[in-house]
Amino acid sequence: MSTKNKKVMVVGGGIAGLTAAWELSRFNIDVELIEKTPFLGGYAIRYCCKATDECRQCGACTVEAMLKNVVEEPKIKVHLATEVEKINNNGKISVNLKKSSYQPDSDTQGVVRGYSKNNSPLHVIVDKKKCEENPDAVPEGAVELDALGFSGKLDVDAVVLASGFQPFDAEKKGTYGYKKFPNVITGLDLECIMREQGAVVRPSDGKIAQKIAFIQCVGSRDERLGNLWCSQVCCPYALRMAEKSKHKNVDAQITVFYMDIQNVGKDYAGFYEKCKTDFRFVRNIPVDIFPMENGSLSMRYMNEEDGLCINEEFDLVVLSVGIMPGPDNSNLSDLFGVGLNEDGFFAGIDKLNSTSTLNDGIFLAGTVAGPKSIAASKAHAGQAASEVIKHLGVS
């Protein structure tokens, strides 16, 4: 072991970044973990447990566990609300960091809460003025956003880019009325609803949804959008969520609109059989959704039997949005000197090693390099860690 520890920068605090950081820390490597938002955990930390009477292998709980590992590991230094400004790679990598320009997803009372109890801080003040107006609403221990970001220079021996993905913006599918009709939600919205409330409730009136439709491949496998990839996670999350919904409410009537159902878990044949007895599957992707007076939705799709269009009413429509390249990918590509593939994800050196890149010392982990489940992101991050360790010659 060399006397001076090696240092690696991990960019992105989602499940892949967390895993890469933690794996590296096991080998006495100092890790600087950079996260753009004020909270670690990425998208995966927002997902709910999809167990029914038994575990359904969604892996959401493993994200909690990995976040805990990371926050408890002294060798990992976390920089929240921080992003990379400049990077110089001449054998030795030097990085300029700056405070990120974070904007919360939705309207807040001035304070944003993390998604996990392991987020530290748990509450971040994003609007000081609002908080001053209503100081009672500011929880103890809340930290100002400004106090989090880090500006400065870092010298590191390698970089793991784990900046993740973005969910498909469902508003782009205008005919589904996402954000116009409150009871049209995305799979990610439903994850958050289930995690917070433990039930499938309609956003419009807080009632338990009885008749639920899942529409698959929203944004994925879409030639018109030029998205020629399967996101690989939507069938698993939708079917697991549908089973969970049915488990919470046995009277729920669930319909899944699909093109091709992808495998879920290791025992997929058994699981799919169970799904087929519990829900109705319609091999057709609906065209239009219309709002109804009671907040319900009328959906138009083609009937398989006669090829005619029919309208059917649902309480809640869940759009299974896919995994899209991260919003910053083209910027990051220039910044890190690593190319993107034809789909806009980062390209590894070859099919077998999609973690190493043509830029020596820069590695990829997780969905930055293409769609992945939680388990696959963790595995990919482990592979990245292994390549980094070899690169650094750490033993």
């Binding site: 794996e23 096991r26 997902y47 709910c48 447990c49 167990a51 009477d53 038994e54 575990c55 292998q57 892996g59 959401a60 709980c61 493993t62 994200v63 909690e64 566990a65 805990k68 809460r113 996990s116 109890k117 748990l122 917070e196 409330q197 433990g198 496998r221 020629l228 990839w229 399967c230 093109m259 091709d260 992808q262 495998n263 878990g265 290791k266 025992d267 044949a269 058994g270 799919y272 091999r283 398989e304 006669d306 090829g307 034809e342 070859d350 099919k351 077998l352 090693n353 973690t355 293409g370 769609p371 388990a375 696959a376 595995a379 482990g382 592979q383 292994s386 360790i389 070899k390 033993s395």
Partner: protein, 553 residues
């Protein structure tokens, strides 16, 4: 190294040689990576040659693989620290991680090796599904492997010039992306042949793998026709004609192909069953060697120091096998280090005076961490995961778990029974991996929790002794919750099942004692479900409010 300051730690020496079972591409890559980390590797292959089982181009379909195979073979044959044993197999593996004694047979010879870790890298095999379609293989009915083989040569390709080829996939079995990839590769290859038409009769197109949707699109653009069906088409006279009714076009569609290509399922290696028995690791769905348990992903088995790679653990293509191997390289390095390991002295301690070597612990340990010496059971501090199932199952109470001593827990039970404001006292025994985390989440997120609730942390629900539950009631608890991970999510595989059994036992005793069953509740929960935790404990409080305070108070 800071661990060594802790006086409860001790340093032990462990074996650092590594056994790799399976000389296919995955096994070769594993041997190469692990040897590259400086460990001696024994690579065991049942056949006469390495890499013989997988013909990369036809089965795995990756050009990189063919090249990779040669590179790695050259590398490991040159590596002085890889010992290759062909025509050999594992006979037995005694001991625990850091100290396995593997016996390998090669012909008449039996070779014994001390190894610290074992990597299983078996192959899968392909089985053609012609019977599922009522077809017999022959000149016009080909298995997917035969098709790929023909397409690998120019002469073979000519067979399909000006011919019509029909593929059957995903209708004889659900299939998976690897099966799909093989079909797509063949379809694309056929489209380079003059006058060849390809029709694909498919169930669900399994495109959930990188690049497949693009291949699907490319093949359609080049003229391949896909019929997506929900049931098998009608096949007449061993494939002379294929027909089905198209509901959209509202007509029957019939084709008379020159060739039919039947899909193949990918099956777990026949060797898996024996290997699992010898290594005492679990066989998961469809004969692959890993349970469907997220805490084991990607490469862990239920036993420390035994890792599973690639097609050993699931149907996976070479890219994911490569990912697995890199993960194993990290795990092995972390586990074996430089051969000196710092371990906690009190992880699980067996009291020699109490132990009668009844082997209950050996049988119930899900991690295979226990063996026995002359006077007592021995729990390996490296292999032990500290779940405490053995401690609770031991009929002599001879085992104590560090940090979760029985006396300390009983003390927590007694002090946890609180009575204030007339709120019922509820004790929740919580697995530290799930329920305890969920409880903390509910608390921090200010979800509703009963005033009289106290959580008692246990390393695994399997540590929740019947004594703890009974003690709680005797101490005056109005309600007791036993909260475990959901079935299939226990890090110790079946700690939750043990907990459930003990709750059932407690029910029986409560019935005898005339205590209402509703005062005891077993629940499965995950670490990230604070809201469920809140619902469960609030429901419990309501139930107890209906029953009134405990008669044992």
């Amino acid at each position: 190294m800071t661990d060594m300051i802790n006086t409860d730690m001790e340093e032990i020496n462990i074996a650092t040689d590594v056994l790799v079972l399976g000389g296919g591409l995955t096994g070769i890559k594993a041997a190469s990576e692990i040897a590259g980390s400086g460990y001696k590797v024994i690579l065991v292959e049942k056949d006469a040659e390495l890499g013989s089982q997988k013909e990369p181009e036809t089965l795995v379909g990756l050009k990189e693989a063919s090249k990779g195979l040669q590179d790695f073979e050259d590398k490991i044959t040159a590596e002085s620290n890889v010992e290759i044993l062909t025509q050999a197999r594992l006979v037995s593996a005694a001991g625990v991680t850091g100290d396995f004694t593997a016996r390998l047979s090669k012909g008449e010879e039996v070779i014994e090796h001390k190894v610290g870790a074992i990597v299983v890298a078996t192959d899968f095999s392909a089985g053609v599904l012609n019977e599922n379609y009522g077809l017999s293989l022959g000149d016009n009915v080909l298995a997917q492997s035969q098709m790929a083989e023909l397409l690998a040569s120019e002469a073979g390709k000519q067979k399909f010039a000006n011919k019509t080829v029909a593929f059957l996939v995903g209708l004889g079995q659900d299939g998976n992306p690897l099966v799909m990839e093989r079909v797509l590769k063949s379809v694309l290859a056929l489209q380079e042949i003059e006058g060849c038409d390809a029709y694909i009769y498919a169930g669900d197109l399994k495109v959930a793998s990188n690049g497949l949707e693009r291949m699907y699109k490319e093949s359609r653009e080049k003229g391949a026709v896909y019929f997506k069906l929900t049931e098998k088409p009608e096949i007449v006279e061993n494939g002379k004609t294929i027909s089905f009714f198209d509901p959209v076009a509202r007509r029957g569609i019939e084709i008379s192909p020159d060739f039919i290509v039947v899909e193949e399922e990918l099956r777990a290696d026949d060797l898996n069953k024996d290997i699992a028995e010898i290594l005492r690791i679990n066989v998961g769905p469809s004969g692959f060697l890993q349970n469907d348990n997220v805490h084991f992903f990607p490469v862990r088995s239920n036993r420390e120091g035994i890792f599973v790679a690639g097609s050993t653990r699931e149907i996976s293509g070479l890219p994911s096998a490569w990912t697995d191997v890199e993960n194993i390289a990290v795990e092995v390095k972390d586990l074996l280090g430089d051969g000196k390991k710092s371990v906690a002295k009190n992880k699980a301690v067996v009291n020699e005076d109490k132990c009668v070597i009844c082997l209950t612990c050996y049988r119930c340990c899900p991690h295979g961490a226990i063996y026995w010496g002359d006077k007592k059971a021995i729990i390996s501090p490296v292999a032990c995961q500290g779940c405490g199932i053995c401690a609770s199952e031991c009929p002599m109470d001879a085992i104590q778990i560090g940090g979760f001593n029985d006396e300390e827990i009983i003390e927590q039970v007694k002090s946890g029974v609180v009575s204030g404001n007339g709120a019922p006292s509820i004790l929740a025994f919580c697995c530290q991996n799930s329920a305890f985390e969920a409880g903390e989440m509910a608390d921090m997120f200010q979800m509703q929790l009963p005033d009289g609730l106290r959580m008692i942390k246990v390393p695994c629900a399997g540590k929740i002794d019947l004594d703890y539950i009974l003690n709680a009631f005797v101490s005056g608890a109005d309600g007791v919750l036993v909260m475990a991970c959901h079935p299939g999510n226990c890090k110790s595989e079946n700690g939750n099942t043990f907990a459930q059994w003990r709750v059932n036992e407690a029910y029986r005793m409560m019935e005898e004692a005339g205590l209402e069953k509703d005062r005891l509740c077993f629940a499965g929960i995950a670490s990230n479900m604070g809201s469920d935790f809140s619902h469960i404990v609030v429901d419990m409080e309501q139930k107890i409010n209906e029953l009134g305070l405990s008669p044992l108070k």
